[in-house]
Amino acid sequence: MIYHINLLLDEERRTASPLPLNALLRIGVVLVCGSLVVATLLLVFARRQAENRAALARAEWQDLKPQHEKLLRLRTSMVEVRGALRQLQACSHARVVWGEELDNVQAAIPLDVQLTELRASQVVSGATSTVTAVRGYDMHLIGKTGGEDADVHVRRLIDRLSTPAFSNRLESVTVPGGGFRPDPSRGALRTDRVFDVSCRYRSRKFE
């Protein structure tokens, strides 16, 4: 029987690896420390650079800021003034020019029709946060006519109010129920008639 006796102490044992563990550890520690130092230096440099750039930008902005604020104030005030102007203009967009309209109505009345009353009134509606308000008008023409062809005369008036001279402004022209009837006034002839023609104007937006 052959006995192998190991006379080496533990601390005297050597590894067969070309890079012993101790050396590997030392290299690792050096590498980690080196990386940390490099990263730290890079970060310090990057921070300095960012600081300098920010300082430059700050200085530049300090120069520009007062003028820019002035410009912004000008823009804001212009927007406000424009808004106020639009408020004013809304009034004009939503109106019917009655001076001309009265002339047009007069020209449309047939010779054998006598107008006794003209009433027009506005209707403002639809003002919500999302819908622009509109202004419409209702006009009533009340008058007299006579003869066997009284209805023809009123029809002629309606036809004239339906011509292109009016149709771009008028939405409807109607004689309401009971709007064409015998003249109740004293001394009126059997064939005399009174009428009421209702006209509705197209709505115009306050814009």
Binding site: D10, E11, L25, V32, L36, A39, T40, L43, V44, R47, A50, R53, A54, A57, R58, W61, L64, K65, Q67, H68, L71, L72, L74, R75, S77, M78, V79, E80, V81, G83, A84, L85, R86, Q87, L88, A90, C91, S92, R95, V96, V97, W98, G99, E100, L102, D103, Q114, T116, E117, L118, R119, A120, S121, Q122, A127, S129, T132, A133, F206, E207
Partner: protein
């Protein structure tokens, strides 16, 4: 595998060193590197923000001339419109301001005019983007007597000389005793400045808070309500 006493000792040392190294590394990253990164990023962000603002301001400066011209045009239109067309009170009375402008027009048109009757203030329906309300509609009734033609002339003159005035109601009644002379009640709406929010007009005649009609020459002729 059974480790010898020496191996155990070495392993303990190794583990201790590894843990200590990791702790040191963590502490270094946390206490030294992270603040550096945070500071760098903060500076970069500030720089980016400022650069963006500078860039925007440069773009704005490029348009400054156009903006100034536009602002001047808008301001001029506003000044003109408010001076000419917004009803201004006479000694605090809008009614008197209106009557003072209407009477000469009625007289020129050959109409007999009764004193006006105030009907109140109504808001101009708001639209989005209009901002603060600066104007309202001031309504008043005016009663006139005269021919149909004269009434039409009266309204036409008012509407031509004031683009923002609105005739909201008309009631013309024929009179059997005199078919050529009618009685008419007309409701007129004028734009007026909202109280305590008079438009700021930096220059031009009839400025802020004026209590006389903006254009006395026109008012004198009776053609400029």
């Amino acid at each position: 595998m059974k480790l010898s006493g020496h191996d155990k000792k070495r392993l303990r040392w190794g583990v201790g060193i590894l843990l200590g190294g990791a702790g040191l590394l963590y502490a270094y990253v946390h206490l030294v590197l992270t603040p550096l990164v945070v500071a760098r990023d903060a500076n970069r962000n500030e720089d980016d923000t400022l650069r963006a603002e500078i860039e925007q301001s440069r773009v704005d400066f490029c348009d400054a001339t156009t903006l100034r011209q536009e602002a001047a045009t808008v301001q001029e239109a506003y000044t003109t419109d408010t001076n000419l067309f917004v009803l201004r009170p006479v000694l605090g009375s809008l009614l008197m301001g209106a009557q003072r402008l209407l009477e000469p027009v009625a007289q020129d048109c050959g109409l007999q005019m009764d004193p006006c009757v105030e009907k109140g203030r109504f808001e101009i329906p708001p639209r989005r983007g209009d901002g603060e309300k600066r104007f309202e509609r001031y309504a008043m009734d005016v009663t006139l007597q005269g021919s149909y033609r004269a009434l039409a002339d009266f309204i036409r003159t008012l509407e031509r000389t004031n683009a923002f005035l609105c005739v909201s109601d008309i009631d013309i009644q024929g009179r059997p005793e005199n078919p050529l002379r009618h009685k008419a009640t007309i409701r007129i709406e004028w734009p007026v400045a909202v109280e305590n929010r008079l438009p700021t007009v930096p220059s031009g005649k009839g400025g802020n808070g004026s209590t006389v009609p903006a254009d006395p020459a026109l008012a004198k002729k009776g053609t400029a309500p």
